[in-house]
């Protein structure tokens, strides 16, 4: 059995799977159920200032279904915890005491002044938690009040607030970044400048999941009106992976620990984030979709894969994909693949043919054999190796992209004869 123990910025957990700051981590009862199920840690749902708690609306989530599958993407218009600060602090203290081996990180969001952050940090430190996560990400509600993504969209604010936190606590400080920006490297650099021990990303993406075509209001609908929410779930994973890779590659942030978030539903998703250098991974939508029991497969699947591949620890494959993420202009223009269709596996749906015909390069011919069976075959000289046919083929390994020996050396755009600015 592989060793799944995780240590990110000094925060340790028996496995890398944490529940992200969200409804599943709002209360002791939820968090203890998660720990009983086997989750390695939690980021407690965001605490705000002392005093009257925020008020949430009724009707909070909207979902994207696809082809009969529920919740490919989820959005929410929920705010930070709506329970009194002292209740949350007492519960965090009790849970950490009862589950000392699990990571307990507390998410925080208070107004943008040093006193507010100092005050909350002092109180949170009393809980015995392992770290804090600064919520600079929530794109709805709190951002209108100058918090959440309103901070995360201004690198200077990120730097300053992170700096205050580092000044006023010895706890590891995670900075949670919003994806609702143009270039994720700038807020990440600001976090590092402020002294962040780690960044967590991505928070949710500004979204309206659908418009109700009867009431003409956005979903989720609150008395006929809707507001943009925060989008998450499997649909956002590609966006998150790209942003994680940017931070992992950037010379100014390279080595900054990353807690990966965004559509992680399976052990495979988690392994991909870790391969892009993430220390821990955070899950929310999948738990909201299926309940906490999915942790069994997350742990077991990752373990079995690591055993099979010979990775004894997370460290042994962490970051291995980072060097392979590059800029487009470094890609080898002499690399060539051609689609190959296995007639034994083909079920004759014809999708490869029609998508190539309509949307690509007319490189898949169709014909019939003497029995009338449909035959689809690649016209090699026309195939540009785009993958489209392989992507639409419903049968595993029926269409494969076969590497061709062009006999030509590595050549990227910077040196290509067609590039007027070639080196």
């Amino acid at each position: 059995m592989a060793d799944l123990r995780c240590n990110i910025a000094g925060v340790k957990s028996p496995n890398p799977f944490w529940l992200a700051s969200a409804p599943p981590t709002d209360k002791r009862i939820n968090v203890e159920r998660a720990f009983e199920a086997g989750w390695g840690g939690v980021v407690w749902k965001t605490l705000g200032e002392a005093g009257p708690p925020v008020v949430n609306v009724c009707s909070r989530y909207g979902s994207i279904d696809y082809n009969g599958q529920r919740m490919v993407g989820l959005n929410n218009i929920e705010l930070i915890t709506d329970r009194p600060l002292e209740v949350n602090l007492a519960e965090i203290t009790a849970v950490k005491k009862a589950w000392p081996d699990r990571a307990m990180v507390v998410s925080l969001m208070v107004p943008c002044n040093e006193d507010a952050w100092r005050d909350i940090l002092k109180q949170v430190e009393q809980t015995g938690c392992d770290g804090v996560e600064l919520n600079f990400g929530c794109p709805h509600g709190m951002s209108e009040r100058g918090m959440g993504s309103a901070v995360g969209q201004v690198p200077g604010y990120i730097r300053d607030v992170t700096g205050w936190c580092k000044t006023h606590t010895d706890l590891p400080v995670f900075v949670k970044l919003t994806p609702n920006i143009t270039d994720i490297r700038y807020p990440a650099r600001a976090a590092r400048e402020g002294g962040a021990d780690a960044v967590s990303l991505i928070n949710t993406i500004n979204s309206i999941v659908s418009i109700n075509l009867d009431s003409f209001s956005p979903e989720p609908t609150v008395a006929g009106k809707g507001a943009h929410g925060g989008y998450c779930g499997p649909a956002v994973k590609p966006i998150a992976l790209s942003m994680v890779s940017e931070i992992a590659r950037d010379p100014e942030t390279r080595g900054l620990p990353i807690s990966g978030i965004g559509g992680i539903s399976t052990w495979r998703d988690a392994a991909e984030y870790i391969a892009l250098s993430c220390g821990s991974v955070q899950v929310c939508t999948a738990a909201m979709r299926f309940g906490f029991k999915i942790i069994d497969d997350l742990v077991d699947g990752l373990n079995n894969w690591m055993d099979e591949k010979g990775h004894p620890t997370l460290e042994s494959f962490r970051g291995l994909a980072v060097p392979n993420v590059t800029d487009w202009n470094q890609l080898d223009l002499n690399y060539k693949t051609i689609a190959s269709i296995d007639p034994e596996k083909c079920i004759e749906c014809g999708l490869c043919h029609i998508v190539c015909e309509d949307a690509s390069h007319q490189a898949i011919a169709r014909s019939r054999d003497e029995k009338g069976n449909r035959i689809y075959s690649v016209i090699d000289p026309e195939c540009v190796g785009c993958n489209l046919c392989a992507l639409v083929c419903p049968i595993e390994d029926c269409i494969t992209m076969v590497e061709q020996d062009t006999g030509l050396p590595y050549l990227n755009w910077t040196r290509h004869p067609n590039n007027p600015d070639r080196i």
């Binding site: 082809n67 009969g68 004759e348 749906c349 014809g350």
Partner: protein, 446 residues
Amino acid sequence: MSQSHDIRPGRLERTRIEENFSDLHPALTSHQAAVESARCLFCFDAPCTEACPTGIDIPGFIRKIATGNTYGAAVTILSENIMGATCANVCPVEELCEQVCVKNTAEEQAVRIGRLQRFATDHLFDRDKQPFHREPDTGKHIAVVGAGPAGLSCAHRLAMHGHQVTVFEARGKSGGLNEYGLAAYKMNDDRAQREVEFILSLGGIEVKTDRSLGVDFSLASLRADFDAVFLAFGHADVNRLDLDNENTGGVFNAVDFIARIRQEDLQGLPVGRRIVVIGGGNTAIDIAVQMKKLGAEYVTLVYRRGRDDMSATDYEQVIAQTNGVLLKTWASPVKLLSDDQGVTGVTFEYTRKDDKGRLLGTGEFFTIEADQVFKAIGQHLDDNVMEFDDHPAIENGRIRVDEKRRTSLAGVWAGGDCIEGQDLTVVAVQDGKIAAESINKELMES
């Protein structure tokens, strides 16, 4: 041998009968339709469409169901097959569209095309909408003989093209075998009439019932009075066993009794305790299963050849067996036994094939006691058609047509069971459609 002649109505409680004759396949719920439609791959050049005798764009209509455009799905279906609602229930999909579904290869389970088709057509019918419209009146008037699937399909398509159509129907109701010939558990409620009303609601079609060709009017008169004629009168005569006592009490033509099941109060029908059905086609299965559902205790279906030779599909055979019908093969009837009250049983001779595939009696015999005997050994063209002065050419007992469904007579087309081809509703609908297009082309170009 028992002489009890145990035949009586109401063998089962009414509620039990209603249960037995409820839908063979209940309608899909919208959830089921969503799940099932999501399974469709949206094949290009789809095998299912190719296998459909009417060429329905099956991936197209299934995608419309998947996107919530169920009304559009129904229109896609009905555009090619105006009786798509009936066909959804009675098509042998396991030998047509669903047999060739690529999901059979991928998952050993075809997309349930028939059930999805019903989901779509039910949706449209529940809304009482007529999605088709008529072109401006052409002044042409066409006679259609027979208000069954072929005749109504032809009439509808002709009316869409702006022609006036008069349909002559020998029976009291339109619908043909949809109304009189299909098993009640496949076509329950007033499904067939609802479909007829839908077709006629297009306008331009007048149906005259109780009007028989060769009795009330002649083909010659139709040819004189109309711009074109479409013959779609089926094959109304039933093949005989050619045994003594064939007219004795308790011996029925299966098709006649099936019509009674569709038309009469099920509790009032005479049902024997012991039934013998002779034949190997879907009609034999339909009567056997329905007699069982009506409360018969023993139903034995006897066929002179083997299971693989039966024209009843494998699926239909399974339905018979799961309903408790005993399928007995390789036996041919040689004698109908009777007393003064009617039939008492059937003696069969065992059969076998010789080296050349010919059927031979083995010289060994057995007898099955029966209170009722149903003959389901095929049908043939109505003899009246042969009596026309100028009847169209007949070949193999059916009216000969070309690929456009033109007969040997100018201005006369034919389709449905009275021509060569599979005796299926869907095939009849296609005949009507092809003939209508041919008639339209001919009339409008002349």
